[in-house]
Subunit: 675 residues, 2 copies
């Protein structure tokens, strides 16, 4: 006989057997008929025993140390593969793993380069004004923004695996850096000391990023949940916008704080003084110009370059206007001298023995995580559009090394910029070569064009930064989060309000705290569901989720709505089961004999683990139920759970009533005619 037929016969006979238990009136007919179909079938009782045997004799699960070793072991395996290969092949494959450019560089063609060239030039035209603007946001001289657009993208082009990402300074990281570091050193009074701390923080951020990648700790970046990032970004956008009021209104004395109340107070205090409206008019007109260009670019996809080039046009035009009208003599603030030439070395500016060492390391880790979060979000979303896979750990290593290299060459923390990556993508970039084109353009500008920026009004920088902010506020996504998960929305709004009314770091802390509090709350919840049989099946489901499910009289089938039966919920769970049972007994006292509970089945299918408090609680529950004459049965314990049940001898205590399914528990424990 074919084995699969044999198999199916066994299954049929088993299902029919359970039927006989469930519907005793029909049993004789059914058994008789099935005997006609498959003569000599197994009655199933022995099968059920065999299944309980399977449950009770599972292999010993790995302990917590073993699991830890296993997860680290995955990294170990790679090295093992390497060791088995010859030396020369090893070097080649290691180099290829570190520098992906060696892999795709071989197939690089001139047709691709044409596209990359165009994309790179478009990118540079947006990058130069943004870099200068973000440098002022980071309270650094404009050239440091340009430096940051040279070395980091260069290193990333060699080591990174994203094809579209545009590397350089970004608004949120610039704000974060300045808001954290100006607490340690005043950027106006003591710019040299401030810069030293900036480079040191950049160095540590790079070290942490590389370490995350090398140690495969990429999941740490996930701790900033999506909802928290949405709120954080929106809050940061508003804070950045408020900071631009300084440039736009031409205010000289501004607050160092970033929260909305301090900034509005500072603005209010400066209003009564006679203020120069030229700055404001200049900034607002060019902001309108950039926004109109962007609107046109959105309406007609072919004109997208309008939005990319508008900031550069604004700078050129406004500089010309100021130069021709000599408006700087009438109170329009200008950039004045920008130091030209390539990145100078900043190796000797790193400072590891400063009195702020712990603060610097702490800032490094915060900046590292925020920068990585933004870069990986940007990289992943464009990689998924183009349909290739981005290795998170590889990316972190690349980001780490680019920031370490940056910190040695007068750059501050660089990461992937969302707005520029979108422009790069729209301009049709093929590979990271577009970044290289951008780097060369920035180098040329640094060498030749910095002198031309003398008359550039600072209000224009403010309007360029302001024009990039709407992209950071995602109202649609916030609404979506509200719709799907109210508690996630709480994390989102917490991050938003934290950034807005306290500080950038407090916003981050609030978001992470709410996210973790949410995990704890949902893990230790002591909610219970009662299960009923779905008609026509042997499945037992939550009667609230499936209103058609039928409860079996005399049986309480219940499941904990958590993956842990632990100290925080075990007592409540036990009390609730006992309360249900005693409530039913009270009903019973009024004469409803049918309702008397004879059996409590705990479906453990969603419990991942039980701790010692949970086990103690189960033992107490069993003792209490036994004293009331009620049987306790356990169904479908998972691996760690059955191991603990065995270790505590609970199997013997409950009289071996441990089953694979709720159905089998019911069939075995209930007297014939009850189920």
């Amino acid at each position: 006989m074919d084995p699969s037929v044999e198999e199916s016969k066994r299954e049929v006979s088993l299902t029919l057997f359970s039927q006989t238990l469930q519907t005793p009136m029909a049993s004789s007919t059914t058994e008789a008929s099935i005997d006609q179909v498959f003569p000599g079938h197994n009655p199933g009782k022995s099968q059920m025993a065999e299944r309980t045997h399977w449950v009770l004799n599972a292999p010993v699960p790995p302990g917590p140390w073993r699991e830890l070793v296993d997860s680290i072991g995955k990294t170990g395996k790679k090295f093992q593969v390497l060791r088995e290969q010859p030396m020369s092949k090893n070097v080649a494959s290691i180099l290829k793993a570190i520098f992906p450019i060696l892999v795709w560089g071989k197939d690089y063609k001139i047709t691709k380069f044409k596209k990359d060239l165009l994309a790179g030039l478009t990118l540079a035209s947006l990058c130069i004004p943004q870099s200068i603007g973000y440098a002022t946001l980071a309270k650094l001289d404009p050239q440091y923004g340009l430096y940051t657009s040279v070395v980091p993208p260069l290193i990333y082009a060699l080591m990174g695996s994203s094809r579209e990402i545009a590397i350089g300074p970004v608004a949120v990281v610039s704000l974060l850096l300045s808001s954290m570091i100006q607490k340690l050193e005043d950027p106006v009074a003591n710019p040299i000391a401030y810069r030293r701390i900036v480079f040191t923080v950049t160095f540590f951020a790079g070290i942490f990023q590389a370490a995350f990648g090398l140690l495969r700790l990429g999941f740490l970046v996930d701790f900033l949940s999506h909802a928290a990032i949405v709120g954080f970004m929106a809050g940061a956008a508003i804070v950045i916008g408020l900071q631009q009021l300084k440039g736009l209104l031409g205010i000289t004395h501004f607050t160092n704080k970033t929260d909305i109340i301090s900034v509005l107070k500072a603005v209010w205090r400066s209003i009564p003084h006679p203020w120069n409206y030229h700055n404001f008019i200049l900034g607002c007109s060019f902001l309108s110009f950039i926004l109109i260009m962007r609107f046109l670019g959105r309406r007609n996809k072919k004109l997208f370059w309008l939005s990319a080039i508008a900031p550069l046009i604004s700078i050129v035009l406004s500089t010309l206007i100021v130069f021709l009208t000599r408006a700087d003599q009438h109170g329009v603030k200008i950039l004045k001298h920008i130091k030209g030439g390539l990145n100078p070395s900043s190796v000797h500016q790193l400072q590891f023995d400063s009195p702020h060492a712990t603060e610097v390391v702490k800032s490094g880790i915060v900046v590292a995580v925020v920068a990585l979060t933004e870069a990986i979000a940007v990289g992943r979303s464009f990689a998924s559009i183009k349909g290739y896979h981005l290795n998170g750990n590889q990316e972190m290593v690349a980001m780490g090394f680019m920031n370490i290299a940056g910190s040695l060459t007068s750059s501050y923390v660089a990461t992937g910029s969302f707005s520029r990556t979108a422009v790069n993508f729209s301009a049709g970039c093929e590979t990271v070569v577009s970044n290289l084109v951008m780097v060369i353009t920035v180098i040329i500008s640094l060498e030749l064009l910095t002198r031309l920026l003398y008359y550039t009004p600072t209000a224009i920088l403010a309007s360029i930064i302001l024009s990039a902010l709407p992209g950071l506020i995602d109202l649609n996504e916030a609404y979506n989060i509200w719709r799907v998960d109210k508690l996630d929305f709480l994390a989102c709004i917490g991050a938003f309000l934290g950034v807005l009314f306290a500080s950038v770091e407090i916003g981050l802390i609030v978001a992470v705290s709410i996210s973790f509090a949410k995990i704890i709350l949902s893990s230790i919840q002591s909610g219970m569901e009662t299960l009923g049989r779905l008609p026509g099946t042997d499945m037992f489901c939550d009667v609230k989720q499936y209103p058609m499910a039928l409860k079996t009289p005399g049986v309480l089938i219940t499941r904990v709505k958590s993956s842990l039966l632990c100290f925080a919920n075990a007592n409540v769970v036990r009390e609730r089961i006992l309360k249900w049972v005693t409530d039913e007994q009270e009903v019973d006292a009024k004469g409803n004999v049918e309702g008397r509970i004879q059996l409590v089945v705990i479906d453990m299918s969603n419990l991942m683990n039980i701790d010692t408090s949970g086990m103690a609680s189960l033992e107490e529950l069993h003792a209490k139920l036994a004293s009331l004459g009620i049987e306790l049965a356990i169904a479908n314990p998972k691996w760690q759970v059955i191991e603990k049940i065995r270790l505590c001898n609970l199997v013997d205590k409950v009289g071996g009533r441990v089953f694979l399914t709720v159905g089998e528990a019911m069939d075995t424990c209930l007297p014939t005619g009850m189920a």
Copy 2:
């Protein structure tokens, strides 16, 4: 036809239908034969569709606010019941609820009183020496320990529901109080200010305890896990023991710190001075006496009173010895004057406007939780021996009011003592009347006998405290925790070492932190299990737990080992599934065509919830799998999960492939002949 037969027919036909999909070779035979058994059976396809319909059309689950309101609503119901009754009945039932003594007092008989009288006298003989000893541990004058054994047990007798618990001062709470308060005020230099803070802390502890009970926040007490308590108690026992070295060695200048290193240093520093060995010899001999008596009491259950009365005998004998030999003139330290008389009022000593107000409130909450934890553990364990139920919230209210009353009458924090409750139980107490007998005995002692304690050596108090400590160290339980749950043991040992090497509060903080870190770790773990079909069933289980389960070639059935798919694990889960799929495809490239995965089934049966990051991750996974030509199916989503899947339109995105069971997903999605 009987409906149950009809029912069973449908089930059989369905199982057989799935058989036909799984074993196509046998299908014709099986279908034909079942047609003979039940002519005109349903082919099951429509049933499967109906079940998917059930899954997809579950009612909307309650939101987080609704769940919160529901859990508070349970308290509301009680009041509703009250409102429906006539006024007089209401007052009676409220009074009965607040004072359980009104319920059991009616049936109290003289036979019970005889037993309670004997138990109460035994209890008093242990309580008086312990109270004096614990008062010195709390850095208060001896009479305050006796005061604490008067008012709190009196109030508890009226309001409490435990029958065996012995109320009064206990070692751990005394240590905790002194270690927290002596940081605010020096008990030696400024005893009056110190005492004011003690009473204020006691008052706040009572307020918190009563509030926990009234607001049904009893679960807060559970946050100190069983494992943490075992470690904490053992650490506290050693710390208390070390404190007794002062009395035992007759040291005058001792450290205020409680950690083992400071205490041993203080002892070491006092050794070179000529020390009086009389204290030590006296203390050690009576310690041996008490321990031998206890040993005898354990060997012979009838002699248990020996262990109960040994401390009192020690006090009487040692006082006599000192009085007769005038040993106090040879360096033996004695108690000297103890103020007699009943509890004085301490209403005016409560201090709510002190500069330490926040510290006092904080200490109040810590002491409240520790005291409740001990009392409820003691009460529950003895209630379960006698087989009655203890209402946690009722107990908390009783404890709260007894401590509030205590704080107004010169008592410090009282709770249920483990050692005295055991003695009370062994002495055969029937009700809380034994506590009342004890109270009367203590009152008589306070009025008449305090003068007799003038010559009592302090070393005896140290030996009485030391003799009670072994009961706090439960090595068996610690070993059991190690055996069952290694991470629980970590919380246990963390609490132990924290108390021993840092301070009592740090031990508590360490224990709570480890316990919650454990919850977070196990909730966000990104472990995945692959499922296989258990032979002869339609169940799919973890292939590691059930080595006999068979994987279906071409299908990846997987389940997340967590109850949450959230920001912290969603990315890792997605990457792991994609890696499995691509790994299989690599194998495929080597020619193994059978292994090519065509279907990924995610069994969501243990996921309680998904957040927005989790949903985004699922959507990305689906898009990626679709681009690889692989179908994604979802099986058995729970209530909150299916709601979110619906809200995000994921049902449409996965082409409606949402099923009640993994088996149905396989049957529907795989081409005939694959499953």
